[in-house]
């Protein structure tokens, strides 16, 4: 779990994934036959060159949702923009870190005592929020912070039995699972891609697919668990702790039906719990890849509660089961006619 902890705690909002990439190269670079970083920051590692196809590509994205410095005001407060899908309701009264020096700051609030009844009915709009680093003037803030600097949630990984708490399980969980998978000997040539800027509209994944041109792509994700209290009469899956989440279709791709069947049948055969993702929710690098090359794509994810917020919960067994399922299903890839 040490590597997962390192990956989750590392800063890596979209466009600033360097720290995550460095951790991965250090942790598993030695398992690869080749290591390459492209112009955008996608990290490629290959294994099994010369083995008979199909050529398999695994992808997980290194970036996380976060914030970016928009401007610094006269009093030294920092106005910010969101990078990726963040509900403004999760932002007030949070701790953040900023820029290359990881300067500490907090997102302030108007005290309860000073807001009137009407105000309390409103969500504080993003444009009214500021980060406070303790500076008293613009020049003091400017010594440490630049416009465009990344801002990330100051959340630390903790384990409580099987329950894991951290920021960015979407998609450091996927990054971690791929780091475990690259240690495995597959029967085909495999390329492992840790992509960038997925939360910015699947940008890294697109050029990664164009470079690798695989036959089969398996995306490893941290997806939203939906087993949360609700009054609405809606499906509540996926559930935390109930196994790998398999995508049928999301907003960007229809998963390859034969690969979906292979994953489900392998899970049944091996007694691995599994569940379907709710259709038409979210999207992954597979959506970008299928627009570059006609390939068979599947998405396997761990369920995590409260993704895209400062702090999420995941289940250790889901991570172990997802790694096992992907390994076992990959062994049988030649049985599949795409």
């Amino acid at each position: 779990m040490e590597l997962l902890k390192q990956l989750c705690d590392a800063p890596g909002v979209s466009g600033h994934e360097d720290a995550v990439r460095e951790i991965l190269i250090k942790a598993v670079g030695s398992y690869a036959e080749s290591v390459h970083v492209d112009s955008l920051g996608n990290l490629f590692m290959t294994k099994g060159k010369g083995k008979k196809g199909p050529h398999l590509m695994f992808t997980a994205h290194t970036d996380e949702v976060g914030l970016m410095v928009e401007r610094i005001d006269d009093e030294g407060f920092i106005k910010f923009m969101t990078l990726g899908g963040i509900d403004p309701r999760v932002l007030p009264a949070k701790r953040v870190r900023i820029g290359k020096d990881a300067i500490c700051g907090v997102i302030g609030i108007k005290p309860f005592h000073l807001s009137d009844k009407e105000e309390r009915k409103e969500v504080t709009p993003l444009s009214d929020l500021r980060v406070d680093i303790g500076a008293s003037s613009r020049s003091e803030t400017e010594r440490f912070v630049d416009v465009g600097d990344p801002i990330w949630f100051d959340t630390l990984f903790e384990q409580q039995g099987d329950i894991l708490k951290a920021k960015a399980f979407d998609d450091r969980a996927g990054c971690y699972m791929m780091a475990e998978l690259i240690k495995h000997e597959f029967r085909f040539p495999a390329t492992f891609v840790w992509s960038v800027q997925e939360e910015m509209g699947l940008r890294g994944g697109r050029i990664a697919a164009a470079r690798v041109r695989p036959d089969i792509m398996i995306v490893l994700e941290g997806t939203g668990a939906c087993d949360l209290p609700t009054d609405a009469d809606v499906a509540r899956r996926p559930f935390l702790g109930k196994g790998p989440v398999i995508t049928i279709l999301d907003r960007t791709v229809v998963a390859n039906q034969r690969l979906v069947e292979l994953l489900c049948q392998t899970a049944e055969r091996d007694g691995i719990p599994w569940q379907f993702k709710r259709p038409l929710v979210g999207g992954t690098d597979a959506g970008a890849a299928v627009r570059v090359k006609a390939l068979g794509a599947a998405v396997v994810a761990i369920p995590a509660r409260y993704i895209h917020t400062p702090v999420a919960l995941a289940h250790l067994k889901d991570i172990i089961n997802t790694i096992e399922l992907v390994k076992a299903a990959a062994e049988r890839l030649r049985e599949v006619k795409l």
Partner: protein
């Protein structure tokens, strides 16, 4: 300044009604400094300095706001009551659930993937806010009795310059100041006796200070004056009114319930020593222990000093230690002055 002491205080959870650990820390700390504190049971703690017939009170509350487990559903989600806390700041906070075992919890909300834009426009009402510890319902019900307190799970942190952020700076900044004043005056000749009160349950119910006030009444002692130390609203990018700048000194309360003559002396000492301060105008209700102490027994002339603090009643409260430093100078000078004791 001994930042370490403040950071120690900030790491001790002290929710209203559950101040035992803070009391134990203070007893030990004072003991090391040669002061025996007196346990006032559920009302808090008291200790004294100086001697003679003249008696003054110095009161700080040691409790902090916290969440309380109200109901646990069959799936183990713990619904919360949040006295004094804006429900709009609750989502996505990390909490320590202090049940039969300490558990890490997260105040949950549906991620944007499962919400319509319309749904994101309204705050989540407090009755729908819950903490999630990730465990099955039966286990949670066993470990987390209704009434369990939940506190924000954040370590104190230094910001730029002399500013710090931490959970419960309201009123641990005040407790810190009281300890510094105690140390500063420990070896000094005082015009009379000061009885310090570290009182409980200020937030919401204002319990401990009432006990302090009644204690003097019962013993028949007459209290010359009381000093109450608390925190007040700090200005920021948005809050300008009823708030005071950080780093420009603490506030001295002015208004009908506070002593005019003691305030005048405090002000003259401050200007004599060039100590910065702001005047904080307050009407019938200060929201501090001054409300209770000033009408305790036969009445106690009360001085209110408050440290400006940003983001009050949130996990990201901020104070400027320069304000604690200047308040320390002012209070330790003033409490040694005959004129304050003979006013």
């Amino acid at each position: 300044m001994n930042r370490e002491l403040l950071f120690d205080l900030l790491q001790i959870p002290s929710p209203s009604g559950h101040e035992e650990r803070m009391k134990a820390f203070l007893v030990k700390y004072l003991d090391v400094h040669g002061i025996k504190a007196q346990d006032l049971g559920p009302a808090g703690l008291s200790w004294g300095l100086g001697e003679g017939d003249k008696l003054a009170f110095f009161s700080v509350h040691i409790d902090q706001v916290a969440f309380v487990a109200d109901r646990i559903d069959d799936e183990g989600y713990i619904y919360l009551k949040m006295p004094g806390i804006d429900p709009r700041i609750a989502p996505s906070q990390e909490l320590t659930v202090r049940g039969k075992r300490e558990l890490v919890g997260v105040v949950g909300m549906r991620p944007p993937h499962f919400l319509s834009e319309e749904e994101q426009k309204a705050p989540i009402p407090s009755e729908k806010l819950y903490v999630d510890v990730g465990l099955p319902g039966e286990e949670v019900k066993r470990l987390v009795p209704v009434g369990t307190v939940c506190t924000w799970r954040l370590e104190p942190l230094a910001l730029l310059g002399s500013r710090v952020t931490g959970v419960g700076l309201d009123n641990k900044a005040g407790v810190f100041l009281a300890l510094l004043v105690t140390e500063a005056l420990g070896s000094k000749k005082l015009p009379g006796r000061i009885r310090f009160f570290a009182s409980t349950q200020e937030e919401g119910v204002m319990f401990g200070a009432g006990f302090a006030g009644r204690s003097a009444y019962k013993s028949g002692e007459s209290v010359l004056f009381a000093v109450v130390v608390d925190t007040t609203f700090g200005t920021d990018h948005e809050v300008k009114d009823s708030a005071f700048p950080l780093g420009k000194g603490s506030t001295l309360g002015v208004g009908p319930i506070l002593s005019k003559s003691h305030l005048a002396i405090m002000r003259s000492i401050a200007s004599e020593l060039s100590i910065p301060y702001s005047l904080e105008p307050l009407t019938s209700f200060t929201g501090t222990e001054a409300d209770v102490l000033s009408i305790s027994g036969k009445g106690i002339p009360t001085i209110l000093l408050s440290i400006p603090l940003r983001n009050m009643h949130s996990p990201v409260e901020i104070v400027d230690l320069d304000d604690v430093e200047s308040s320390l100078k002012l209070l330790s000078a003033a409490l040694q002055r005959e004129d304050l004791w003979s006013s």
